[in-house]
């Protein structure tokens, strides 16, 4: 069988920002692949670079302060997205690669009806007539399970609940049938029962439309529920990439393991016990430690970790880990 070709290939992506305190590298040498029909989770704490990675792919970062290191490549459809001009990029953005954001109220324009906002994307990217666009908008609202789409299409965002708004944002993202959907914390602002509805919806749409999903979240529960493969980021770098099963059952990086342990667990045995924690805080990007970036919080750190930055290695198929002393190694 042929090796499946990735639909998106990110290699050695480094995104730097110019700031008053000098240049910072928010994303440092990040490489991963996304295959069609797959959901890839990117997980990490605030400031680890997960959102900057996704915005680099979409080229949504403010250009005057952003610099990509020359070796950075984002390959999509035989082109390097980082080298595309704004016009060519506009053909990709919202059409071939779409994005949904965390806060559905700020992602929608409060002064336009939701129907108009779905039609806007179609107007730019398709040759549909006005009536066809309206039909398509209603069809999209039906697809994301909004009741009475014929009436809802004429409503404003403030007339909808939080869950409904996120459905509309998903409808806008999917109306041009993109190859890739990037979802940046799509359920963080929602209640659990609504989160469950949105996660199921995304899963169904993935199966129905074959869209590859890149899900960015800090919630490991969400990752466990919907993703096939997981990228764990820490302080701008990838520390581990593996299948979702391996991440949760055989984590190799001490950070992944510690992160998993610090979630409160359900059940009798765990009740009222102290939680295992990761001491200290995430290092500032302006003042990164020498050696492994996790070493001052790592319980297993040795001298080598303090001096030498570990490289991302591939001990097994489809697994990468950035650690001198990976856990759970089986031959």
């Amino acid at each position: 069988m042929d090796q499946p070709q990735p639909i998106l290939k990110v290699t050695q992506l480094s995104t730097c920002f110019r700031t008053d305190q000098g240049e910072v590298t928010a994303v440092d040498n990040v490489s991963f692949e996304l295959f069609s029909g797959e959901s890839l989770g990117i997980v990490g704490e605030s400031g680890c670079g997960k959102t900057v990675t996704s915005k680099s792919i979409m080229r949504l970062l403010p250009e005057h302060i952003t610099r990509f290191k020359p070796e950075s490549r984002i390959e999509f459809d035989n082109a390097n997205l980082l080298a595309l001009g704004e016009r060519a990029m506009r053909e990709v953005r919202g059409n071939r690669i779409a994005m949904i954001f965390q806060e559905p109220m700020t992602a929608l324009n409060p002064v336009f009806k939701i129907g108009w906002q779905i039609e806007e994307a179609l107007k730019y990217h398709t040759k549909l007539s006005r009536n066809q666009r309206r039909e398509r908008a209603i069809e999209m609202l039906r697809l994301v399970e909004i009741p009475n789409p014929d009436q809802r299409v004429n409503e404003y965002p403030h007339q909808l609940s939080g869950g409904m708004r996120q459905r509309v944002v998903i409808a806008i993202a999917l109306c041009c049938e993109p190859d890739i959907l990037i979802a940046d914390e799509p359920t963080t602002a929602l209640d659990v029962t609504i989160q469950a509805q949105i996660l199921r919806l995304m899963d169904e749409l993935k199966k129905k439309l074959g869209t590859a999903i890149m899900l960015i979240t800090h919630d490991l529960g969400v990752i466990a529920q919907v993703c096939d493969r997981v990228v764990v980021m820490y302080a701008g770098q990838i520390v581990e990439t593996a299948s979702v099963h391996d991440i949760f059952h055989r984590p190799q990086h001490p950070y992944t393991k510690a992160l998993l342990e610090s979630i409160p667990k359900s059940g009798k045995q765990e009740h009222g016990k102290r939680l295992p924690t990761i001491e200290g805080i995430v290092p500032s990007l302006f003042d990164l430690p020498v050696g492994c970036r996790f070493h001052d919080r790592c319980q297993l750190a040795e001298d080598r970790c303090r001096d030498e930055m570990p490289q991302l290695t591939t001990p097994h198929d489809n697994r990468d880990v950035r650690c001198h002393f990976p856990l759970n190694e089986t031959s």
Binding site: L199, R200, Q225, G272
Partner: protein
């Protein structure tokens, strides 16, 4: 004698509108909530946004005035106490807010904020204030040089530690913590939960812990109240909620929470639709519009919160 006794607490927020600015509707934030908290207990309140959990917390410490009902603190009724009568009690009841940054004055140093409360309530003699602040900061895991720093110089977790230090500064008996870890990353969340657990032990505090996260409540609290649209629908001990939860809403909450194990993926969705507006709640059981097992009786008649076992109450016709 219970430390806090709440009886039939009701809070309606008026909605004004029209050219005469008359009250056109009421938001029914709390609809007859009754419960008790024993000394030394940690009680959790869980529910989705808009269920009234924060209103309940704020009403308890008189940051919001109740519409009707009574609140007793150490058998003294505080519902209608005047400002000056309340003042000594304010020292005993403290509040920790959700957003650690907006709860701090951006123009005041950490030391300044602590000094202010300590002096105002005359917690320690004037010459001991500084050493008391140092020891407080140590208790919450911060170093003494934090005193000179401003809120923006701290990370989110440190800000929440500072809020906790400020609440502890007056040596309170009872603390309401309103989503104290929701704004924090998981690794920091675990640190703050452990800190609260230690401090509770050390100062023998009584805590009311408000959160939307059932896992945090289950882990941290002794007993929990599940709220929906201003009603307590179930009250249960936290040691074995999977076994004990019987209200369909609590079960839905439990099962909507993704499990951190990809091998235990399950159909998450149990509830369709959204929470009804508290301006216009449904008749009968508040949960009737989303309940998977609702019957005709449920929309006609409101079930009452009935004591079933020791420490277990539920309001559902199906659990009769």
């Amino acid at each position: 004698m219970a430390m806090i006794q709440v009886d039939n607490l009701v809070k309606h927020f008026p909605v004004r509108g029209g050219i005469l600015n008359r009250v056109v509707a009421n938001v029914h934030a709390l609809n007859g909530v009754s419960f008790e908290i024993e000394r030394g207990e940690t009680v959790g309140i869980v529910g989705e946004s808009g269920c009234g959990k924060s209103t309940l917390g704020k009403t308890l410490v008189r940051l919001i005035e109740a519409t009707s009902g009574t609140i007793r603190y150490q058998s003294e009724e505080i519902t209608h106490m005047s400002h000056s009568e309340l003042m000594p009690l304010r020292r005993e009841m403290q509040f920790i807010f959700q957003d650690p940054y907006s709860a701090l004055n951006p123009r005041m140093t950490a030391g300044g904020m602590l000094r202010e409360v300590i002096r105002f309530h005359k917690v320690v003699p004037a010459d001991q204030v500084e050493s008391y602040i140092d020891s407080l900061l140590g208790k919450v895991g911060m170093s003494a040089d934090a005193k000179k720093k401003f809120p923006h110089e701290f990370s989110g977790g440190q800000r929440q530690r500072l809020n906790i230090a400020r609440a502890l500064a007056v040596k309170p008996e009872f603390i309401v913590a309103d989503e104290p870890v929701s704004a924090l990353d998981v690794s920091i969340q675990a640190q703050i939960l452990n800190l609260l657990m230690d401090l509770k032990e050390e100062f023998s505090l009584t805590l009311l812990f408000i959160s939307h996260d059932l896992k945090v409540i289950e882990h941290f609290c002794d007993r929990m109240l599940v709220m929906y649209l201003g009603h307590v629908v179930e009250e249960l001990p936290c040691d074995d909620i999977l076994e004990k939860a019987r209200h369909p809403y609590t079960q839905a909450l439990l099962k909507s929470n993704p499990v951190s194990d990809p091998d235990e993926r399950r159909e998450l969705v149990l509830l369709e639709g959204d929470v009804p507006s508290p301006r216009n709640p449904p008749s009968g059981c508040p949960f009737v519009t989303r309940c998977p097992i609702a019957e005709t009786r449920c929309s006609a008649e409101m079930p009452t919160l009935k004591q079933k076992d020791e420490g277990y109450r539920v309001s559902c016709w199906a659990v009769e």
